[in-house]
Point group: C2
Chain length 755, copies 2
């Protein structure tokens, strides 16, 4: 435990009250003078020629301002990603693609009018899934796959590298990451486990659907976008790039985010900005739940074959992975991330990972908290579990024997910075759930590893002290996970003030400061250094002012509880507000108390987790009931344990839900369960009690030793559930989510095959 006053202590999230009292301001809450409402009209067909749109009946309705089609908003270049897509021109390439926008003075009016559009589609043959895509009989992009500079995946700290091959077919990209000689190692292995795992697409299912309000600026081509986003700078670039505007003319104001999970980098912003510039009016577009599920960017379906070879002692000698990733209509780039993690959890000399990114006529996929990793580790950790069973070894011991350590290579070859995977395993070994497993029939305990390398980026931050003693902390990163609350603690700790005296000012693209988007678990890691730098500079300024005020030596002055005082003379003190006033007034003085901090850390602070899940399996129905879950995570140093546990709870719940419930179902290329009645989003009662066990093995690079926190918790749950089911029911599930029916069939098969 570090010697701290505020850091490391449990403290409520700063925007909690505002949120529970309904005072937080979301994009959908915004009402601007003269604002009109837009409703998108989505294609029901995965692939069709758009022959015409008859808007007459719609335009007859009172309050309807306009019906806009792709030809009205044509930016003059083809989209290469979901967010650069405005409206379909002549061809629709996925079910859920917007083909028109109806604008009216009320949302209901726009909705009514949208129902009156007559759209003439010529339905075309579609590429509905990865298997069909890989036959290459029908090409999604017969003119070649549209590409752009930077993929969204890079925002998540995924690694580039490996071999890339260009391919004009539906197999958009094939990459191979290799070390050692896998073929020979598999041939020489004492035991080989060879299995193939699949999973359904999953939607991020944030509470707040995508919402954007755009308002034209004074200059032609100038626009302000109010949006639910994880990164205002990302939105700015996307809007400017898509619409051909100057970046400096696009002003993005990030609003409170009602759940992001990787999906809120901006999808509709360019579209709404274009409508607003076209009509010269403020325009609001808020998706319905169903539209949100149809037209945004869920996770990919993957099919991952894992071949695992070990020697008789259980030491891994070979790992051979082939991952097929179904991306929908556009490239995305999960390959690097999946390879990094799947090939980096264990020390193994011979590794080969082949990834195939495949295009279909489906909504393009996107990022969801640790993109691709829950699926990848479901495959890897299920196979490792099988390996232990085949060898008759304890699955925890086998993992301890092989677990990666500091300096071992990841799947894409870079060495891990210091990591605490083994420390988590040691802690799991002591846990009562693990020690008492196997005692009740029909129940089982599964264990799985998880982890995430974590991103990191340069960032700036401003700290200023105001005349009333308020410390204002200006940050550029959006708060989606309580990170602002941690920044407040860092400033409070550094300046010796109560955290209530610190106010966060969320930056816009105009106000700055520059900071990375809030994703890839990187915000705390990236931002803390800048906040610390700014706060320390301000601390020095305050000490200087106080020393001069008291006519004392600088080293004899201290900052305590919002005051500066001379050490040993507690009666003689001055408030920070008074010092700030001095700075604002003193001729020839140092100037106002303020500093801009900058930081750019050199390496990441990866976070690893071990999760234990205890389930009951009903032998008659195949129903799985999760009874308890334990999430053990090395967070390095918990800046605010309450919020760290919140992240662990949320992520663990999502991981279990990926394992047991959630899946987008398609029929003929069209999504059939685009709503929360049919999509199995868990209720609170569907999840077990989750115990969060914090391990603090300080990171070398993270602030105060802290590691990334947000993404690791989601990565292990699906695998741990699968291993628990194996423990309880004796069967190996290979398809996510695990439905009762599928499990029952599997159990029947085992019953018939192995009497």
């Amino acid at each position: 435990m570090q010697d701290t006053t505020h850091l490391g202590k449990r403290r409520k999230i700063i925007d909690g009250l505002e949120k529970v009292t309904g005072n937080a301001r979301y994009a959908a809450d915004l009402t601007l003078a003269g604002m009109v409402h837009a409703r998108p009209v989505l294609s029901p067909y995965p692939h069709a020629r758009l022959r015409g749109i008859d808007a007459r009946a719609a335009l007859d309705l009172p309050g309807v301002v306009a019906v806009l089609t792709g030809h009205d908003l044509n930016p003059g270049h083809a989209p290469h990603s979901r967010s650069s897509m405005l409206l379909a021109l002549d061809e629709v390439v996925f079910a859920g693609q917007p083909v028109a926008v109806v604008v009216a003075t009320s949302e209901a009016g726009a909705e009514d009018a949208a129902g009156r559009l007559e759209i003439d589609y010529e339905v075309l043959e579609s590429v509905d899934d990865a298997a069909q895509a890989m036959t290459d009989e029908l090409h999604v992009w017969p003119q070649g796959v549209p590409r752009a500079g930077t993929g969204m995946a890079s925002l998540h700290g995924g690694e580039a590298g490996g071999q890339g091959s260009e391919n004009l077919s539906n197999i958009d990209e094939r990459r191979v990451f290799e070390r050692g000689d896998v073929r020979r190692a598999l041939e020489g292995a004492h035991v080989v486990i060879d299995r193939r795992y699949t999973n359904a697409r999953v939607h991020q299912s944030y509470l707040e659907p995508h919402a954007v309000v755009a308002q034209p600026g004074a200059r032609p081509g100038e626009v302000t976008v109010y949006t639910s986003t994880q990164g205002q700078y990302t939105v700015r670039s996307e809007v400017a790039g898509t619409l051909g505007l100057r970046e400096r003319d696009v002003h993005v104001e990030p609003m409170t985010v009602g759940g992001g999970f990787g999906a809120k980098y901006g999808i509709l912003d360019a579209l709404v900005a274009a409508v607003s510039l076209h009509l010269r009016r403020p325009v609001r577009l808020v998706l319905s739940r169903s539209e949100d599920m149809l037209t945004t960017m869920p996770t990919p379906e993957t099919a991952i074959r894992v071949r695992l070879g070990a020697d008789a002692a259980g030491r891994l000698v070979a790992l051979d992975v082939q991952a097929v990733i179904e991306n929908g209509v556009f490239r995305f780039g999960h390959a690097g991330i999946i390879a990094t993690v799947i090939g980096g959890m264990y020390r193994c000399e011979n590794v080969r990972i082949e990834t195939l990114e495949v295009l279909t006529h489906r909504a393009p996929v996107g990022a969801y908290r640790a993109p691709g990793v829950p699926q990848a580790l479901f495959a890897l950790e299920s196979s490792v579990d099988e390996l232990a069973r085949t060898l008759g070894q304890d699955p925890l011991d086998l993992r301890l024997l092989n677990a990666a350590q500091t300096g071992d290579p990841t799947g894409t070859g870079f060495p891990w910075p210091d990591i605490g995977l083994k420390a988590c395993l040691e802690r799991a070994r002591e846990h009562p759930i693990w020690r008492s497993r196997g005692q009740r029939p029909g129940e089982g305990v599964g264990l799985a590893l998880g982890g995430w390398p974590g991103g990191f980026s340069p960032a700036g931050a401003v700290c200023r002290v105001e005349a009333d003693g308020t410390v204002r902390l200006h940050v550029g990163s959006v708060d989606i996970s309580g990170v602002h609350s941690s920044m407040v603690l860092i400033a409070a700790e550094t300046l010796g003030v109560d955290p209530d005296a610190v106010e966060i000012v969320q930056g816009t693209t105009d106000s700055g400061p520059y900071a990375p988007a809030s994703g890839g678990s990187q915000v705390t890691i990236s931002l803390s250094g800048a906040v610390l730098d700014a706060s320390r500079q301000v601390r020095d300024q305050l000490l200087d002012l106080a020393a001069s005020h008291f006519e004392a030596h600088r080293e004899d002055v201290e900052l305590v509880e919002g005051h500066a005082r001379v050490k040993g003379l507690p009666g003689k003190s001055v408030t920070l507000g008074q010092l700030a006033q001095l700075g604002q007034r003193l001729p020839g003085g140092p100037g106002p108390v303020v500093a801009e901090g900058r930081a750019a850390i050199k390496a990441g602070a990866p976070g690893f987790t071990v999760q234990l899940v205890h389930v009951h399996v009903d032998p008659d129905t195949g129903q799985v009931t999760p009874l308890e879950a334990v999430s053990i995570q090395d967070v390095g140093f918990a800046l605010n344990p309450l919020l760290v546990e919140g992240q662990m709870h949320g992520g663990t719940g999502q991981g279990l839900s990926i394992g047991l419930y959630e899946g987008l179902h398609f029929a003929g290329g069209s999504l059939v369960n685009a709503n929360f009645l049919d999509y199995a989003f868990p209720r609170a009662t569907d999840l077990p009690p989750i115990e969060a066990v914090i391990v603090e093995r300080p990171s070398e690079h993270g602030p105060f030793g802290a590691r990334i926190v947000g993404e690791p918790p989601i990565t292990a749950g699906a695998a741990a559930v699968a291993n628990a089911i194996r423990d309880a029911a004796g069967v190996r599930v290979t398809e996510l989510p695990v439905t009762s029916e599928a499990l029952w069939r599997l159990m029947q098969g085992r019953a018939s095959h192995r009497p």
Copy 2:
């Protein structure tokens, strides 16, 4: 001339296009969702008991939301200034004081309803002018004059000091500033000039009346104020202090200002904020021209007696001044400013300045560009002119002989920093208008000195370079005089970019940076250092990044035209945008390209002026026609000569107008010409061609040698006109404005007395 690329060159004002195309956003332009409109109801009586307000007929009108009186908005403490005044409770103390606010869904609706209020006043005896006030027969504040900590006058850089005496009578404050022995010096003088000068109140007559929109925040007691103000921090303090709110809960967004001239520090902000918090709705209040003239803060009436003693050679030996300043109902504090200047223009060993600040039942006075100085110098410079005439000396030579120089004391005793008054006189001596004076009957040329010490305050500023190469300059000072345009040039010069690549971001109280209010001619002086500091830091950051990028020595890299390049290798270059991207991406690098600059200069950079005015006086009507004016001003270094000339033209015009046209006329304590039909605001044809002659005698403390610019031009015009009239018509005017009738009577008197 300094070796500069952008500084010192004529360049259009940056917000000119926005303003002439109608795209600038003033407070009155703002429309917020749910916003209602407020109309103030003003007392027609200078002093009355408010017996009751019957609002029933008003509330019957459709769209009327509320009629609020002082009891609805009672803050629980008495006002001590115009801006801390909400609505009258039981007593009205000036004609024009708001007694109620009518709120409706439309401005016209509120106006109609306001007309239906039945207000029961019991008219009381009032103190109508300074002469009556000084009899102390009726006290404006029988319970004692309300006081507060800091007067508004301090914002204008006026000097404190001198002796103050507390007085419970209508003579609110009497101060005496003294050096040497005036009585003895006057007795021993070769010649003594003894005259008394008076002037009418003058209104600042900005084009945009006061306008405020306030919106309640999410928290109780939280409010955002959009306002036409010269200083958002001043408004924040005033609103928070008046309404008992936390400063951090008051958010002030300064809007484009349509003319300030000292009057836009915030008058209605607390009132509108209170209405908005009371109704929990956004509220807009925009004064009509007439209301604006009735309820805001014009200049004081003054009566200034000057006794001037000189030896036979024309050397000043004594200056004895008694100034009576009529402040209206609240104290203001012109005394220090008037004393500083009137006692500081000339080197004189024996000076005594007595100031009496007197209260009446009139609207409280406020600041108007060089507050009090046009009136004070009208008195001083008229007397100096008379002295020269009495001694038979050239009035320019006499002034050169006596003019204050660097280190001489001001009227309040502090020594002038380096000043260039004599340089202006030397330049005037060469001017054709001066050299050819006295050649035509009925015409005359007058000369007068003017000047202003100028304020200066600490300030911060942020400079950041964005990925697209845009340089964003964040400043906290409001632009009322083109100062942002100068800041752009400083950044462009420092960073070697085109000024069009630099964008100004106007700060709010939340975003910062901290900077002084835009008044007292201090903004350029105060802000430049911070902008320069920030820009230089950014320049260093860019050079470091470029050196590392080129693998060159830092000293071999230069910034030229938006690029960094290795000296001598013009082909090898990188844009500033690319360097910014490096900063935003480089792991372990320096971080984003950004710096917060701070500055707090030690001493001011006073600005002096000499003005020549050439008039024709019609002997039959007394009509004065100004034929030409020359404004010679030492600006140290003209950062942008075009804008400096603009300031000189505007100020000179205002000074002439104070001399010849403008005056608020009262009858029985009530203003009778509160509109632009009856108030003699000059048209363009009423002013002569004005020639601006820039003198550049670098200041020691100002940025690049620049001096204050804004206030000096207004200070000399009235005196110069009076001296020109004396030259043309042989009579000495002692009352401002000089009306044809008064002058004709004076000329008649001279004709009868001196045949």
